[in-house]
C-alpha cells in the first residue's frame, strides 16, 4: 500500500532528488501529511528540519504590553506540579523545554541547538537512546548559566516519587546522563519510536534551574520559594503571581533567540467564563488573546461582526466520542457493577452497536454546535495525519439502522421500543455537564427514538465525572451506564500513550480501584497484539500502519462512536499574530508572537 510509496519517497529525499517540502506535499496528497512528517524522515534516516518561523520583527522589544485572558487562571507555577494545562501554560511563560511543537507538529528548537537524527548521530538507530546538544550561552533569569546539569537535575527531581511530580510517568523509566556541559544523553529501557517526550513540550518538558531547586527535591518539594516565583530561561521574566487571578512578566533582555521577544510586558489574567472572555477579546478588545474559547459557533460569529478580534483555530487530535459499555452496568457481581464477569445484554449483539453508530448525525451536530471548531469523523484516532485511517467512513441513516435491527430480530413492541428475547432496547447515555454535550445528547436521542431505541439522558457534574473518586458511582471510569460521551485529549503528536489505554490488561475494575484506563472494558486479542507491536516498532511507516489498524479494529467492533474531531479555538485581537499549535500549549510558541502594526 502506502508503505512502498513512502519508502521510495524517503529514499528520494535522502538522495536529494526530492526536497523536504515536496515530500511533505506528497504526503499530504496521499493523505499522510503529518505533524510528524519530519519525525518520519528522521527515523527513515533523514534529519528533522526545524520549522520555518513566521516571525517578522527585526528587533527585540518595543511591542508594548501583551494582555492574555485565561478564563481558568493558573493556580501554580511549577510545571511539574501542574494538574491542568492552565498551570502548564502559566509556568511555560518563564520556563522552557529543549524543543516544542509548531502548528504543523514539527519540532521547534528552544534550548537545544540541534534536532537529534540518525544522520547527525544523536539518535541511536536501535531507538534506545537519544543525545541532545544544548544551546551555548543561555542564562537563567538570575544570570546563572544554563547547562546539562539543569537537565539532569530536572530528571532527578521529577522521577523521585516523593517529589510528587505530575510528570513522573515521563521520567521514571528513563536514564539521563551528562556527557559534557552542553550535552545530555537519554537512555530508554526499550526501543522508543517516539523519543521526543522527555524535555519536549509544555506538558512535561519544562526544565528547572538546579541551583534554585536542588534543596527542594523529594519530600521538601512543596517548600521551594521558586514554586511561586519562577526563575526560568524564557522570553519573559517573572514579576508577580496571584494564584487564579494574575501573572505579570517583563521582557528578558538577555533572551537567547535573536530579535525576540516582541512585547515589553506580559499580563495573564484569570477567572470568569469562556463567553465573556470571547467578548473581552473579540468584541471590546480589552484583551489581546483569549484562551480555549469553548463557545457555540453562532455566538462567536455574532461577536465577530464588527468586532476588534477574531477566532483562531488549531488542528490537533482531540476527538469527542461516545463509548459503549461491553459489560452489564445493571447487574452487580461481587459488589461490582459493570463487572468483567458480565456481558452487556444489548451490546453483545454487534448489530445493536452498528445500528447505534448509524444513528449519530455528525453533520447536524457540527452544524448546530461545533461549527468551524469541529470536523466530522469516523475515526477514534484523528491525528497526527499519518496515523489517521482512510479505511473508515460514517453514515447517518435511520432507515438503514431500523432495517438492520429488524433483520437482527429486534422488533418494535407495543410501546414502539424494540425488543428481543424480552430485552428492551433501553439505554442510559451519560456525559459531563457542558452545553455542547447536552445538545449533542439531545440530537442523538431524537434519532434513536425514531429508530425505536429508548435513550435516557444523564448528565454528571464535570468535577465528579472526571474524578478518580472511588466512592462515587458517577465517574467515567466506573461507567455505570450503557453509553458515555467525552473526550480524552491527545496531548502529544504521537498516539502511543493514547491508544495503549484500551489494551485488555488495562481494564478498569474494582480490583484496581477503577484506575485502569480501558473503561469500555473491551477485550480484543488482535488489538493487544497490534499495540504491543507498535510500541516496539522502529520503522515509522510500519508503525503508522499498526496504529491505523488499531483504529480500524475499534471501528469494526464499534467500541467508540466518534462524534467530532475537535479543533482548538482561541480568540485573538485582529492585529495580533499568535502562533498556536494543536500539538502544543497556547504559550509554547509565545516567543514567536508579535503584533502587526
Amino acid at each position: 500500500m502506502l508503505d512502498k510509496e513512502l519508502r521510495s519517497m524517503i529514499g528520494q529525499v535522502k538522495d536529494g532528488r526530492m526536497d523536504r517540502r515536496a515530500f511533505i506535499k506528497h504526503m499530504a496528497a496521499v493523505g499522510l501529511t503529518a505533524p510528524l512528517a519530519n519525525q518520519i524522515l528522521a527515523l527513515g534516516g533523514v534529519a528533522m528540519a526545524e520549522s520555518a518561523s513566521t516571525y517578522k520583527p527585526t528587533k527585540r522589544g518595543g511591542g508594548g504590553a501583551l494582555k492574555l485572558l485565561w478564563w481558568q487562571g493558573p493556580t501554580l507555577l511549577n510545571p511539574h506540579f501542574a494538574t491542568g494545562t492552565k498551570d502548564q501554560d502559566g509556568s511555560r511563560l518563564f520556563y522552557e523545554p529543549l524543543g516544542c511543537w509548531d502548528p504543523d507538529g514539527n519540532m521547534k528548537l528552544v534550548l537545544a541547538s540541534e534536532i537529534p537524527s540518525i544522520q547527525n548521530g544523536l539518535l541511536a538507530a536501535d531507538g534506545k537512546s537519544v543525545t541532545w546538544k544544548l544551546k551555548p550561552g543561555v542564562k537563567w533569569h538570575d544570570g546563572k548559566p544554563f547547562s546539562a546539569d539543569d537537565v539532569v537535575f530536572t530528571w532527578q527531581y521529577a522521577k523521585d516519587p516523593a517529589t510528587a511530580a505530575i510528570t513522573v510517568g515521563v521520567y521514571r523509566d528513563i536514564v539521563v546522563e551528562k556527557i559534557d556541559d552542553l550535552t545530555v544523553k537519554i537512555t530508554f529501557p526499550k526501543p522508543t519510536p517516539f523519543w521526543a517526550d522527555a524535555f519536549v513540550g509544555a506538558g512535561a518538558g519544562q526544565i528547572l534551574p538546579k541551583h534554585l531547586f536542588a534543596d527542594f527535591i523529594g519530600s521538601k518539594s512543596r517548600e521551594a520559594p521558586t514554586n511561586l516565583a519562577p526563575v526560568g530561561t524564557g522570553p519573559y521574566k517573572f514579576v508577580e503571581f496571584k494564584p487564579g487571578d494574575l501573572i505579570r512578566g517583563v521582557i528578558n533582555p538577555d533572551y537567547h533567540m535573536p530579535n525576540r521577544p516582541y512585547f515589553d510586558t506580559l499580563e495573564m489574567k484569570g477567572g470568569g467564563d469562556a463567553v465573556s472572555a470571547a467578548r473581552a477579546v473579540i468584541q471590546t478588545g480589552e484583551y489581546d488573546f483569549g484562551w480555549n474559547i469553548q463557545v457555540e459557533d453562532d455566538v462567536l460569529l455574532r461577536l465577530e461582526k464588527g468586532g476588534k478580534g477574531k477566532t483562531v483555530y488549531a488542528v490537533g487530535g482531540d476527538t469527542e466520542f461516545i463509548a459503549l459499555n461491553f459489560t452489564d452496568p445493571n447487574v452487580e457481581v461481587d459488589g461490582e457493577r459493570s463487572s468483567m464477569k458480565t456481558k452487556h445484554p444489548l451490546f453483545s449483539d454487534p448489530v445493536v452497536r452498528k445500528a447505534l453508530s448509524l444513528l449519530v448525525d455528525r453533520e447536524s451536530v457540527k452544524k448546530a454546535i461545533y461549527g468551524r471548531a469541529g470536523r466530522t469523523t469516523a475515526n477514534f484516532l484523528n491525528g497526527p495525519e499519518k496515523f489517521v485511517s482512510k479505511n473508515t467512513s460514517w453514515e447517518f441513516n435511520i432507515e438503514k439502522a431500523a432495517k438492520m435491527l429488524d433483520d437482527g430480530g429486534w422488533k418494535p413492541g407495543a410501546d414502539g421500543i424494540r425488543e428481543k428475547d424480552g430485552k428492551k432496547l433501553k439505554l442510559v447515555y451519560q456525559t459531563s455537564i457542558n452545553g455542547p454535550r447536552q445538545k449533542t445528547q439531545a440530537i442523538i436521542k431524537q434519532a434513536c427514538q425514531k429508530a425505536g431505541i429508548d435513550v435516557e439522558l444523564k448528565s454528571v457534574v464535570a468535577s465528579v465525572f472526571f474524578s478518580s473518586d472511588v466512592a462515587n458511582p458517577d465517574t467515567y471510569p466506573k461507567f455505570y451506564a450503557d453509553l458515555e460521551m467525552f473526550q480524552i485529549p491527545l496531548s502529544q503528536p504521537d498516539p502511543s500513550q493514547h491508544m495503549r489505554r484500551y489494551v485488555s490488561t488495562a481494564v478498569a475494575t474494582k480490583e484496581n480501584k477503577w484506575q485502569g484506563t480501558n473503561f469500555p472494558r473491551w477485550v480484543n486479542k488482535d488489538y493487544d497484539a497490534v499495540i504491543n507491536a507498535a510500541d516496539m516498532e522502529m520503522d515509522p511507516v510500519k508503525r503508522a500502519a499498526l496504529y491505523i489498524k488499531a483504529n480500524d479494529l475499534m471501528w469494526e467492533d464499534t467500541v467508540f462512536i466518534p462524534v467530532m474531531h475537535r479543533l482548538k479555538v482561541e480568540a485573538a485581537a485582529n492585529n495580533l499574530r499568535p502562533v498556536i499549535s494543536g500539538w502544543a500549549n497556547e504559550t509554547d510558541n509565545l516567543f514567536d508572537w508579535y503584533r502587526e502594526e
Binding site: L76, T83, S276, F466, S467, N472
Partner: protein
C-alpha cells in the same frame, strides 16, 4: 454586663466547634477529589496518584483528618491549598482587599440610597414618590445580579464603551490616575450589587419607619408643635434605626465573604471567586478555611449584636 458578655463568648466556642465539624464532614463526604484532573492524564501512573492521596492524607479516616485539621488550626496553621500548593492564609489575604473594596463600597452605596429614600417614602406613604420608590425596589430585588451584571456590561462596555468589564488588580498608573482607574473599574460591580441591596434595604427602612411613625409619642411630639423635620429625625428615625442597625451588623460578614456571582461576572479576584473556583476544583482546605472564616464572622457579629442589645436594653443581659 461583663458576665453577660463572658456567657455569650463561652456559648460561641462550642458553636464554632460544632460548625467546623459539620463543615468538615460535609466536605469530606462531598463527591469529587482534588486530583480528578490526574485521572485523564496518561503521564500519571495510578500508583503515583495513590501516593499523592496518601501524602496529602486523603485516605485517612475522617475523624483523624478532622483532629489533624483542628490541631493545625489552633496552632495558626490554616493548611495549604492542594491546587496551588500554597498556604491558605496567604491565598485568602491576597483576595481580601478586592473583596473589601468592591463589596464594602456596594454596601455603603446601598445605605446611602436606602436610608434617605426609605425615610422619605415612609413620611409620605402612598404618595407618588413612595409608589415609585416601592416599584423600583420591587424591580430591583426581583432582578438577579447575574442578569443586571450582564445588562450593565452590554450597555456600558459593549455598546457605549465607557467602562472596562474585566476588573484588574494590576493597574498600570500611579497617583491620581490610579485612583480614578480603581474607581472606574469598580463602578459597574458596585452599582450592580449596591442597587440590588439598596432595593431590599429600602423596603426594610420604610416599614421600620412606618412602625414607629404611628406610635402615640410621635403624635404627642407633633402636638407639642415640633417641626416635621425635627420629629422625623430626632424622634422617629432614632428608634426606627435599631432594627436597621441590626440588619446591617448581620450583613457585615457578607462584606468579607464576597459576592460569588458578581465577582465571577466581573472577574474580581475576591474571596467569593476563590471559594467558587476552590469548590469546582475540590480544593477542600481552601473551601474549609473560607467557609470557616465566614462562620466565625457570623458568630462574631451575632455576638456584637447581642452585646448591643444588652447595652440598649439592660433587661436582656440579666435574663
Amino acid at each position: 454586663m461583663s458576665q453577660y458578655i463572658l456567657r455569650r463568648l463561652l456559648i460561641a466556642i462550642p458553636s464554632l466547634l460544632g460548625i467546623s465539624v459539620v463543615l468538615f464532614v460535609v466536605l469530606a463526604l462531598a463527591p469529587g477529589d482534588p486530583f480528578s484532573e490526574l485521572a485523564t492524564n496518561p503521564n500519571v501512573p495510578p500508583e503515583v496518584q495513590a501516593a499523592l492521596r496518601a501524602k496529602f492524607g486523603l485516605d485517612d479516616p475522617i475523624h483523624l483528618r478532622y483532629l489533624h485539621w483542628l490541631n493545625a488550626m489552633l496552632h495558626g496553621d490554616w493548611g495549604f491549598s492542594f491546587v496551588s500548593r500554597m498556604d491558605v492564609d496567604k491565598l485568602i489575604l491576597q483576595r481580601l482587599p478586592a473583596t473589601l473594596y468592591v463589596i464594602g463600597s456596594a454596601q455603603i452605596l446601598a445605605l446611602l440610597i436606602a436610608i434617605p429614600v426609605g425615610v422619605y417614602a415612609a413620611t409620605r406613604p402612598y404618595s407618588l414618590f413612595d409608589q415609585i420608590a416601592n416599584t423600583l425596589a420591587f424591580v430591583g430585588f426581583s432582578l438577579p445580579t447575574f442578569f443586571t451584571g450582564i445588562l450593565f456590561i452590554l450597555i456600558f462596555s459593549v455598546t457605549l464603551d465607557w467602562l472596562p468589564f474585566v476588573y484588574t488588580t494590576d493597574i498600570k498608573a500611579t497617583g491620581v490616575r490610579w485612583v480614578l482607574e480603581m474607581i472606574r473599574q469598580a463602578i459597574m460591580p458596585v452599582a450592580v450589587l449596591g442597587l440590588f441591596q439598596a432595593a431590599s434595604m429600602t423596603r426594610f427602612v420604610r416599614s421600620a419607619m412606618l412602625d414607629v411613625i404611628r406610635l402615640d409619642y410621635v403624635t404627642t411630639a407633633r402636638a407639642k408643635g415640633l417641626g416635621q423635620a425635627k420629629v422625623i429625625v430626632k424622634h422617629v428615625m432614632r428608634n426606627a434605626m435599631i432594627p436597621v442597625v441590626t440588619l446591617i451588623a448581620l450583613q457585615m460578614p457578607a462584606v468579607f465573604g464576597g459576592a460569588i456571582v458578581t465577582e465571577q461576572i466581573f472577574r474580581i479576584p475576591g474571596i467569593g471567586s476563590l471559594l467558587i473556583s476552590s469548590i469546582l476544583s475540590n480544593d477542600t482546605p481552601v473551601v474549609m478555611a473560607v467557609t470557616f472564616v465566614f462562620a466565625c464572622l457570623v458568630v462574631l457579629f451575632n455576638l456584637i449584636a447581642d452585646v448591643l442589645y444588652g447595652w440598649l436594653d439592660p433587661r436582656i443581659s440579666f435574663r
